[in-house]
Amino acid sequence: MRFSRNRDWNRASFGQKLAAFAGLAFLHLPVFVIVLYAFTTEDRTYQFPPPGLTLHWFEVAFGREDIWAALRLSLSVAAVATGMALVLGTLAAFALARSRFRGREIITLLFVLPIALPGIITGIALLSAFKLGGIQPGYWTIVTGHATFCIVIVHNNVIARLRRLPQSWIEASMDLGADGMQTFRYVILPQIATALLAGGMLAFALSFDEIIVTLFTAGHERTLPIWFFNELFRPRERPITNVVAVSVVLITLVPILAAYWLTRPSEPESK
């Protein structure tokens, strides 16, 4: 790291610019590789550059019932976990946004812990609890694990928006004779709608892609990431794996970009 000597403070030196763009390029390298390999004609090795390009593997992957079953399970788990997280996370955000009470710090800590500690802790902890309680792992244990960290995501998104919502608006609404329900419906809800949507989409994408917690809580169920993980150690069907990889990237990227667009800071917000 060097600062340019010419005292032109608004211009980056060539070296600084190069380093920044190199860092960004490094972040994108694997994404490009995945897209490229989905079309390769080579089905045994990781040969680069690919000897030829084909769409054949997409066709094969589309005909595979095990992939569709895993996809359906993943979508269903993500939808249920997101739904639970939207309710519970929003309730928590409303309670914690402006209030001051004793023990608030501890409760706030509790609402970051599931993503602050590594996922493996959540996974093994849930498994320990299921074992102690004699609960058989399956669909609902997956949902339980996912909902736990999805709550945190929704909570973070909604609370950030609520803190920017002027308290005076709510007071004005009440002064003008609206009751609590009306204030919520016509003042608060329109303001937090995009934050709810964004939080929900992030939670959905996170749940759809989750593997670390899921491997502990899934029992014999196979979500799409678990299917993918197993495939990594059974390299017979590499081209199919490549196609699924690209599809997963696309499925998760759409909600992520939409969430970013909905919450981007430059959004002209009626102040």
């Binding site: 060097r2 600062f3 403070w9 608004n10 211009r11 600084q16 610019k17 380093a19 920044a20 860092g23 960004l24 490094f26 972040l27 994108h28 694997p30 994404v31 590789v33 995945i34 390999y37 990781y46 309710v87 519970l88 309730l91 928590a92 914690l96 209030s99 409760i107 509790l110 599931p114 602050a116 500690l117 590594p118 493996i120 802790i121 093994i124 902890a125 849930l126 498994l127 320990s128 609890a129 074992k131 102690l132 339980t144 736990t148 709550i151 009751d179 609590g180 329900m181 892609d209 670390i212 993918f228 993980f229 990594l232 990889a245 990227l253 992520i256 970009l257 970013y260 981007r264 430059s266």
Partner: protein
């Protein structure tokens, strides 16, 4: 419904606890309850003859954890990897964050922001898999290395003891690259936020007072960037400590804490030992947080 809403508006404490109760109940029972169950499991032990878990509180599993040199090796190996990854991620992040915070035009900044977010949110598992394609023997990286005539450099790195291996995809060096890649955005974003808060006038003042760029960096920028580095390093450190997918997919022969946890609860069927192993990263993270706090890393947050 309206009557209830009006009733509640007047009784703030009651209303708050009503809101807070369901999510608190969920996290309190499911999450904290599970953490407690984890702790309980780690104080159980497995009967060596029947391979059943004996539900009596004992320190035997922890004794097994610290008395086996192999287990201690695993903990030290994971810890060194986490430290190395954290330091490297900080070094690589700095130019990117500095450019985003200080030089980039608003449009360029948005471009960089999305450019960091997209890979960060791209499927974790797919990224790990992509790295296998990159690092494989005939893969992307070796092709570029050959073209650039750098093959001797790669060979030298791979024959280095400890970090080397038969190929990048099965060496600690390759695993290290993947770890750094994975957690890099988690370092870039908080660091950018911290650097954005450093006023340009401070740098000008420092230069005007005769400081060389290196001095300005060490005495002005670095202390002010510390909260960002601390926040980012908590992620890189804790995520590396807990990961078990990367070491098992881009694998060197040695075990890591996460792999032990996964393997012990699964094929080995020794849930108590898995639980005891998973307490190690919690303790390490707690030590790390208190160290960072003592160094004043969170004061400016």
């Amino acid at each position: 419904m309206r009557a209830i809403a009006t009733f509640l508006y007047g009784r703030r404490g009651f209303y708050l606890s009503l809101l807070l109760l369901p999510p608190l109940l969920w996290l309190g029972t499911v999450y904290l309850g599970s953490l407690f169950a984890l702790l309980v499991q780690s104080f159980y032990a497995i009967d060596e003859f029947t391979a059943r878990i004996v539900p009596n509180l004992t320190l035997a599993t922890y004794r097994q954890l610290v008395s086996h040199p192999a287990n201690v090796d695993i903990i030290l190996r994971t810890l060194s990897m986490a430290v190395a990854v954290t330091l490297t991620a900080a070094v690589i992040s700095f130019p990117v964050a500095n450019y985003m915070a200080r030089y980039a035009s608003p449009r360029m900044k948005a471009f960089f922001y999305v450019g960091v977010m997209v890979p960060m949110w791209t499927s974790y598992l797919v990224k790990v898999y992509a790295w296998r394609l990159v690092l494989a023997k005939q893969g992307v990286l070796s092709w570029f290395v050959d073209r650039l005539g750098l093959a001797p450099v790669l060979d030298a790195a791979l024959t280095t003891p400890v970090i080397g291996g038969p190929s990048l995809a099965s060496s600690y060096l390759g695993m290290f690259v993947v770890f750094v890649y994975m957690w890099l955005p988690f370092m870039i974003l908080p660091l950018t936020a911290a650097l954005e808060r450093v006023p340009a006038s401070l740098l000008q003042a420092s230069a005007d007072l005769g400081a060389r760029p290196a001095q300005t960096f060490r005495n002005v920028v670095l202390p002010l960037a510390l909260p960002g580095l601390a926040a980012g390093s908590v992620f890189t450190f804790s995520l590396t400590l807990g990961d078990y997918i990367i070491p098992s997919v881009v694998g060197a022969p040695g075990y890591f804490i996460g792999m032990m946890v996964y393997q012990q609860q699964g094929t080995a069927g020794n849930l108590p030992l898995a639980a005891a192993f998973s307490v190690v990263p919690i303790i390490l993270i707690a030590i790390y947080l208190s160290l960072a706090k003592r160094l004043g890393a969170f004061d400016a947050l």
